[in-house]
Symmetry: C2
Subunit: 199 residues, 2 copies
């Protein structure tokens, strides 16, 4: 037995999301049918349509925004001499939550990954170089992830900027707060030892 | 820092789903923004609108359907003498998958739950009694779940039909196929022992 076509269609549509398999998608679709009234469905539909209408990438930094430039780029009280380079817009949120960083960001919207056919021209890199030309930037903090693609991308950018006066740094990797050394993987341990500092 | 309003709105809208907390909803919303193109978003929106337009409850049995009556109720080759009573439309699917049952269903769309203020009149029960009046039904199989509400509802329906000639049965509860007795909970074990049969 199959569900009515409209339900099968919603099951299929919601499977686009990462971690949403057939079972989960079915659960969402049936919940929609059995528990959501028309007003609730309208709310979801309108939210999706608003995403399509309002959201775009900030032409300056690549962050997701509904104003041009984004709130961070337009905030002239922020430190205009430092840029943190991240892979995705969502990486900005936890950094902002610390309330300890008041500089700028640059979102690559991807990583260099030769095995997936993603080269330097396929990520938001040219725009970063353009931003660095105006000479106000003194430091670029590479905050790509600690995996093959993130490391490759960080190394590539470092090499690209080697001839400039800009200070290139990499965020620290090591044992996280509350993390247990006993259970830490070998890459984390290696990075934690490499990054050790005199106290 | 908050996300642009359209994103916050989608995060809020998707939290309606069971098991979708703030983190998961945020992940879905950002995936929508970062990875889904307009065509993919349109597909989701259209699926939701189609649910609103096409899907309703079968007036005969309470199953979700896009035709009146639903495909099961209109199939006169099915055994018209047996009704399985289930809590939700989704409970029909696994039963149909067995290919071993060819009778009818009745969907209560809920369970009697005094503590939640849900009484017999709040579930699809009157329509069941109406169906039973036409005398073709010889057996009602109570397939509500094995928990307080499901048991209460089953007992209530049994009492309601006590004076009729209809055979009232309850589906068997016990150790599931592949289930390990060692890890079975006490209610399952109790039911498995109560339901033991001579072999």
């Amino acid at each position: 037995m199959k569900y009515p076509q409209a339900i099968e269609q919603l099951i299929e549509a919601l499977r686009k999301y990462p971690g949403v398999g057939k079972k989960t998608s079915e659960r969402y679709a049936l919940y929609t049918v059995n528990r959501l009234d028309n007003a609730a469905i309208d709310e979801i539909v309108e939210a999706y349509l608003k995403i399509k209408e309002d959201i775009f990438q900030c032409p300056v930094c690549g962050n997701i925004t509904d104003i041009d430039p984004c709130p961070i780029c337009r905030d002239k009280t922020r430190d205009q001499s430092t840029i943190i380079v991240v892979e995705e817009a969502r990486d900005i949120i936890p950094m902002e939550k610390t309330n300890n960083y008041k500089g700028l960001y640059h979102v690559l919207n991807g990583t260099i990954s030769p095995s997936d056919g993603v080269g330097p021209d396929d990520i938001n890199l040219k725009q970063l170089l353009k931003r660095l030309k105006n000479n106000t930037i003194k430091e670029v903090v590479l905050a790509t992830n600690l995996n093959n693609e993130g490391e490759t991308t960080a190394r590539y950018i470092k090499k690209l900027l080697e001839e400039t006066d800009i200070l290139i740094t990499r965020i620290a990797h090591g044992i996280p707060a509350g993390g247990n050394i006993e259970y830490a993987d070998e890459i984390t341990i290696t990075k934690a030892l490499e990054g050790r500092r005199k106290i």
